[in-house]
Amino acid sequence: MEIIKIFAMVAGSFVLFGILGIMSGWVDRKVTARIQWRVGPPWWQNFADFIKLTGKETVVPEGANQFLFLVSPVAGIISATVTGAVLLSSTFFNPFKWDLIIIIYLLMIPSVAMVIAGASSGNVLASIGAGRELRLFLSYELPFILALLVPVIKFGTAQVSEIVRFQQIYRINVGYLSGVIAFVIALLAFMGKIGYVPFDVPEAETELAAGTFVEYSGLPLALFKLMKWILLSVGISFFVIYFLGGFANPITGALKYLFVLVLIILIKNTNPRLRTDQVLRFFWGWLTILGLFAILLVLLGY
């Protein structure tokens, strides 16, 4: 019985975050279009794209490590889905201690999947993309961790459900100055994680022709797109839970979700892509200093 429940949780997380992610992807396209004075696609466009991609021919480059090339999108989807399932279970069903560290580690796996995807294609552009993805990964990891530690220091627990409860009792995290700073840092680091502009160096359509994904087509590419959508919705839900007080009230919860999503889209649409060295300097320089400042503030009680 317990086993069925666990499988159901994973499958449910896949469906829920999958649909939510695809719809968020549509909101992204629609808002982007409105910013650029275009009309934008109808709401089912991303579903249609996904289904069409699955029917396309799959091309594998010569000299690729075929097994890893085809396995890595599946591994990426599994890890994103399981992150969602952990988040669901810790907020709604079965809270457990110290789940924050598990979420941090599970969120690393999609990056690994993308690196291995790029590296196993045997294409020079994909290799460069993989290298950039790695650099991006180690740049955003430091400020991301600093930002996530801020609520942990404030409430003295690394349990996500406890942090939600404390936010309902006292004030939501963004109500504090340190919380605002931490939220902004974590959001920017997360945009690096999902490879959105201005941190899309590993994909860089204009220079690397989609970098790590240059050799992908058909179903594997569709799976990677789905992974990114799931990651987007899981990440935004995590931010809503962790910084904005959670989904206790469904209507305000949905509004919070939309707020974070639109914030990401606005940052994405108003900034040009950074160079790789600028990314490194931005994350390890300004954002890290800001993160340390936030930790100092939270230690002082702000």
Binding site: I6, F7, V10, E57, T58, V59, V60, P61, E62, G63, N65, Q66, L68, L70, V71, V74, I78, V82, A85, V86, S89, F96, K97, W98, I101, I102, I104, Y105, L106, M108, I109, V112, V115, A119, S120, S121, G122, N123, V124, L125, A126, S127, I128, A130, G131, L134, R135, F137, L138, L142, I145, I153, A158, A209, V214, E215, G218, L219, L280, W284
Partner: protein, 595 residues
């Protein structure tokens, strides 16, 4: 009681026999070493549930000893299987030193008497020196350096034991539990820590591991710095922190500080290496930091995590070095610039290396994740005393883990994925001999088993007996996310045939219509050049290249500076010596006459 004499005596005698046999009788020598290590492993398994001697005058066999001995027996076996095909020069010496090392490590782990332990510790330093020297004439300088660092730390061990005897009047581990309240006991603590740090390779006494990594035979690297020295060094650290001394806030703070500096410093140095073995050696240093931080966190869960990380680290680090060994054996080099694309040619090596590198980077559900998770939990628990330093430790540990992942992805790209370098004769390379792949696969599967069944096997069998006060119910919390992950993987495997198209077209790689050639081959070593060029890190890297941070080199130049004057006295010219002797005689004569 007598069984302990046999356990030490049999490998010792077998080692002497191997030494005396001629090199030609390779199979016989290997057979002796193999059967002795099978015997040792089997007897440690047999005694696991019923240790033969609890605590005596000379020997102590408790649960910590049990774990250490099981590890020693296991790695002796794995390395002797692996060495079958790898070692072909001075076979008799190699297996003789291997067996002597096993005998001495067993002795060091079961001694209750600290003096007995320091004797075995000294033998270990000698066998380490001799084993590194097997790497040929190039290995002699690193071997000397190792001997000075590890042997020098032995003198600190003896000094620490002497102070302990003066302070407490006891010499047995079981009889000492010292409260650190005077400067003398602080000195004793620091001396013992120094010995354990040098053995395990924590900063600032780590420099011998990267130094020997390129010169010593790879199986020696996998055997000593990667597994046995970690086991023994952390064994001593655990004895010092758990049995010999009781918790002391500021000294334990110092340990945590050194541990987290080790994690982050070594991993930054590892990022930029161009040689696979050297990179692995820096990680061997970096991982010690987690164990030190865990044990020094001072609460049951952290100590448990530290000891668990010790087990895990020996497993995956041994596997990684063995993987490097088979790459070296099959492809002829471990230089990351000249490899690439080996994943298809050495599939078994590749997958065991991949598993081990996921384990070392802490990807769930591999074992490294669970030990790190427990260490972090220990650090957050330590926050309860109201002091904010834990933020620094946990940040360094988490970031160190991310950087570890990044540097292992670099190796995976440069060695196994990407495209082969033109210096590599791809068609001549074959998968390694089955003895080599067998030992790697066993270790890689252990990484997975210790992860997925981590509560059943490592936690309840190994760790809870050592640290009974650990809150198991708290750790059982991990079952749910673990089950979710396993369920996800199972679902992925079920749907995998659906998700992978049957029909695939194989074409040339697309790079905008150009034809891809050898000049377009990012090997992976240049991935982190922007990191290298950051201002702050640049200074650090330069300093480490000049060996300013190397305690050994610093002390060496310091000593040479002071002995310069005395040196000129020893010119080696007979006339000068005679003059001095004559002068002395005259002075003595004068004194005698006067008296």
């Amino acid at each position: 009681m007598e069984i302990i004499y046999y356990l030490i005596g049999i490998p010792f005698a077998a080692g002497l026999i191997c030494f005396l046999l001629p090199k030609r009788m390779r199979l016989l020598i290997w057979g002796i070493a193999f059967s002795v290590s099978v015997f040792l492993f089997a007897s440690f398994l047999y005694f696991f549930n019923s240790p033969p001697a609890p605590a005596g005058l000379w020997f102590l066999w408790d649960n910590l000893t049990n774990l250490t001995l099981l590890g020693i027996g296991f790695f002796g076996l794995i390395i002797s299987i692996y060495s079958y095909k790898v070692v072909d020069v001075s076979v008799n010496k190699y297996y003789a030193y291997l067996l002597l090392t096993l005998a001495a490590s067993i002795g060091a782990a079961v001694s209750n008497n600290l003096i007995l332990m320091s004797v075995f510790w000294g033998i270990l330093a000698i066998t380490l020196y001799l084993m590194i020297n097997l790497g040929g004439p190039d290995a002699s300088y690193p071997a000397k350096k190792t001997f000075i660092i590890v042997g020098g730390s032995d003198s600190f061990l003896i000094m620490g034991i002497a102070i302990l005897w003066v302070v407490t009047g006891h010499i047995n581990i079981t009889e000492i539990n010292l409260q650190i309240d005077s400067w003398l006991s602080t000195c004793a603590f620091l001396c013992l820590i120094c010995a354990s740090f040098a053995k395990a390779g924590a900063m600032p006494l780590h420099t011998w591991i990267p130094e020997i990594s390129e010169k010593a035979p790879v199986s020696v690297m996998a055997f000593l710095p990667a597994s046995l020295d970690k086991l023994l060094g952390i064994y001593l650290l655990a004895r010092v922190c758990l049995n010999l001394f009781s918790y002391h806030e500021s000294l334990w703070f110092l340990l945590r500080l050194l541990g987290s500096i080790t994690i982050i410093g070594a991993v930054f140095l590892a990022l930029i290496q161009h040689n696979m073995k050297k990179l692995l050696a820096y990680h061997a240093v970096s991982q010690v930091g987690y164990m030190v931080v865990g044990i020094a966190s001072g609460n049951p869960i952290g100590i448990c995590g530290g000891l668990f990380h010790m087990i895990n680290n020996t497993i995956y680090k041994c596997c990684l070095f063995l993987g490097a060994g088979s790459v070296e054996k099959q492809a002829g080099t471990t230089d990351l610039d000249n490899l690439g694309g080996l994943g298809k040619i050495l599939p078994l090596t590749f997958f065991s290396f991949l598993f081990a590198s996921f384990a070392i980077s802490g990807i769930p559900p591999f074992n490294g994740f669970f030990s790190k998770w427990m260490i972090y939990q220990g650090l957050i628990e330590a926050a309860k005393n109201g002091e904010p330093s834990w933020i620094l430790w946990i940040t360094m540990a988490l970031v160190g883990s991310g950087l570890t992942l990044a540097s292992f992805m670099k190796i995976i790209h440069a060695v196994f994925l990407g495209r082969p370098s033109d210096k590599l004769k791809v068609q001549d390379i074959k998968e390694a001999h089955w003895t080599m792949t067998f030992s790697m696969i066993v270790l890689a599967l252990l990484c997975l088993i210790f992860g997925v069944f981590f509560i059943r096997i490592p936690l309840l069998k190994f760790l809870v007996p050592i640290v009974p006060s650990v809150d198991v119910a708290n750790i059982l919390n991990l079952l749910l996310p673990l089950a979710l992950l396993v369920a996800g993987i199972i679902l992925g495997m079920l749907f995998y045939p659906l998700l992978v198209p049957r029909k695939r077209r194989i074409t040339e790689p697309f790079i905008g219509g150009e034809i891809q050639n050898q000049n377009m081959r990012p090997s992976g070593t240049e991935f982190y050049n922007p990191v290298k060029e950051m201002r702050f890190l640049q200074t650090m890297y330069r300093a480490s290249e000049k060996k300013v941070l190397d305690l050994y080199e610093v002390l060496k130049s310091f000593t040479l500076y002071f002995t310069e004057g005395f040196r000129s006295l020893h010119s080696g010219i007979l006339g000068t010596y005679l003059t001095w002797i004559l002068f002395g005689m005259v002075v003595l004569l004068y004194l005698f006459i006067k008296w």
